[in-house]
Assembly symmetry: C2
Homo-oligomer: 211 residues x 2
């Protein structure tokens, strides 16, 4: 697999393939699927799907379709989901706790080993078995425990300084929920969830639906 | 402005333009910006930016740039952000409360008029001045109050039935946070925030960063 060949657009589609394939496997108990069937489900053209999935090697067989299990295994490997990530969450308000519960509930390879906040009412308490520490200890904790992912659930004003501490501590990736475009070292992967972008796409659609 | 001309890709870029323009206006106190400056900031090519912004009319002036205020006003209008949306949130766990606080804090045109849950410990309480009702009352409430947007913050298992109640009640759009692809009437706008897709894009990037 040539890394350079995988475009940003495909990276955005891969997790979606993974969701649909997993759904077919779990709820329909299917073992194989054709590009036409996937097209019907997912709204991409069959030709687009064949092109996407061919990027990673030959999974499809003419007139037969894709082995779901084999394809899922390869997609998981490409996405890096065949390993575990030591993760910390910074900001234990409702959003931080929602993310903590989410990774805990779905057991998806993200091991939350540290929680951080500045609120004295929360620091020292325990959430899902993990102690909440003061954010002043963040950088050293990340360094000592070789944390891979830092999740930022603090407000706009504090997000950049939290990102700086995470990067200085040595994380490989940041999952940012603060409504700000962070300025970080290009060597660290950054994925921001901009809720407002999503909400504004919704309002656009509401105002432009065909009657 | 021809509605049909606006592609899905542009809809996804518009909220991002809005964020960057707002940032320039607020923190840099700029009144105009060139496509080259925007390109530098946002990572799109200047030609892409000119093409996108020309879709809505002539805002740019050769050798002068864009009037930020004028452009923002038009983008807000296109995105439907020049009006208010009556909104309900279903599921008042951490995620639902995070979304409630978010819209409350940023005062962004989404008026939360109802909160719903099934948990008897939460039903009857008040969050940011809004009473939490039982989800059994959802459909009638939506209908009687002409709710426009329903936000789904319940778990995967209950998301479809909540969506059904919202659609039967008459919402125009659904903002879905449950990790499921909902099956709803095509006349209702649906925007799903799939946190796992975002997280998996991050793990891909972590494993494919240039050293």
């Amino acid at each position: 697999m040539g890394k350079a060949k995988i475009s940003n657009a495909i990276i955005r589609r891969l997790p979606r393939y993974r969701r649909y394939l997993g759904h077919l496997q779990q709820t329909k108990e299917l073992t194989k699927v054709s590009s036409n069937e996937l097209s019907e489900l997912m709204g991409y053209t069959a030709s687009q799907i064949r092109q996407d999935l061919n990027t990673f090697g030959k999974f499809g067989h003419q007139g037969y379709g894709y082995e779901i299990k084999e394809l899922l295994k390869e997609i998981n490997s490409i996405l890096g989901l065949d390993r575990e990530y030591k993760t910390v969450i910074v900001g234990c308000g409702h959003l931080g706790q929602a993310i903590t519960n989410y990774t805990y509930y779905y057991k998806i390879g993200f091991k939350i080993i540290g929680l951080f906040d500045v609120n004295p009412d929360i620091v020292g308490t325990t959430i899902n078995g993990v102690k909440v520490s003061n954010v002043s200890e963040l950088k050293d904790f990340v360094k000592e425990n070789e944390v891979v992912i830092g999740v930022i659930c603090v407000n706009r004003e504090n997000a950049q300084s939290v990102a700086d501490a995470l990067v200085e501590g040595g994380v490989k990736g940041i999952w940012n929920f603060a409504p700000i475009d962070l300025d970080i070292d290009k060597k660290v992967a950054l994925e921001s969830v901009h809720l407002s972008d999503s909400l504004h796409a919704l309002t656009f659609m509401i105002n432009n639906m065909d009657e």
